[in-house]
Symmetry: C2
Subunit: 196 residues, 2 copies
């Protein structure tokens, strides 16, 4: 039961921080959820901020293993974008808290966010180069690559993690709707990216 506790804490923290937020989650709540005492958490992570740092590291790993395949694929043109969007939606359905934490950190910045920030920087850098190549090759419409990616990133993350807005639109955020949202997002991006 020993070495597992650390991972259980990280798992629970990821869910709590990613879905409810950092300040909204107290160590006491986390401990109660885990059936241990708060001090057990502080034994493994010397402060709440260190716990956040470690949680972010876990999220970076999960993000890497979920999107790594698609982002490093050798697919060309729109197929590669489609792979990435599919992988992102799959992650949003399986572990919404991971994308929630990405959003949280990307908004707040903060000192603990170094790992995620640099991981994202790397992924976005690759993406920029990929998009530029495709534009040069004439497979993508010519737009400013970084702004384009920001729009694509925002659209995908937003669609995948904005259940309340879906409700406001009269859509239930269940699995079927998510599948539909994925399909429509891909069509939307295809239309935006591919020059006729």
């Amino acid at each position: 039961m020993a070495a597992q506790t650390r991972e259980r804490i990280l798992d629970t923290s990821l869910a709590a921080f990613g879905l409810r937020g950092y300040d909204s989650t107290s160590l006491d709540e986390l401990a109660a959820e885990l059936g241990i005492t708060k001090q057990a958490i502080l034994y493994h992570f010397s402060s709440k901020e260190h716990l956040l740092t470690a949680t972010i590291e876990l999220a970076v790993k999960e993000l890497g293993s979920a999107l790594g395949g698609a982002s490093k694929s050798q697919a060309r043109g729109f197929q590669r974008i489609e792979d990435l969007v599919r992988a992102t939606f799959s992650l949003a359905a399986r572990r919404p808290e991971v994308l929630g934490l990405v959003r949280l950190v990307s908004r707040q910045g903060g000192s603990a966010s170094g790992a995620l920030a640099s991981a994202m920087s790397a992924m976005l850098g690759d993406a920029v180069r990929f998009v530029e190549r495709e534009m040069v090759a004439g497979r993508f419409r010519r737009l400013e690559p970084r702004m384009l990616l920001l729009a694509v990133y925002s659209a995908v993350i937003g669609v995948a993690t904005e259940p309340e807005v879906m409700r406001a639109l009269g859509l239930e955020p269940d699995l079927r709707s998510l599948v539909k949202a994925r399909r429509e997002t891909i069509e939307f991006l295809r239309a935006a990216l591919i020059a006729d």
Copy 2:
């Protein structure tokens, strides 16, 4: 100094809740920022939750007056979308906290969010009908209207309110970049929406 205090509290709360979040903002901080005591806040708003409700109401008003013109315009086709996006970016530059609060509420939901939720519901309902008409008229590409709007909403709000991601892309979130982002977002949406 009397009647103004209430509005000053609301202004400061809007900035704090919208940019830092609800749980991350304490009444003591707000009071210190305003140069009054916490109890002065509680005199005007009987609890922190009531303050949030009133703050949301203010945000709804600001949102309405900022986007109302564009959203009720009689412009047709893509021009109307462009007007709306311009108005949104203008709001993002002038009062980022308003969109921040919209995002916060649209994520967390909660009991206090009724006003904003219904305001957004109404705006989105109008938007759905507008998009449907334009599709029928053949001016917009045929996509699922609600999903399309979710993607558009996410892209615009994301681009307008995601400074950390802009930094990760190597863009400084200053006014010039925001103008550029607006132009690129409009081009992106034009490409996605208009069938050739």
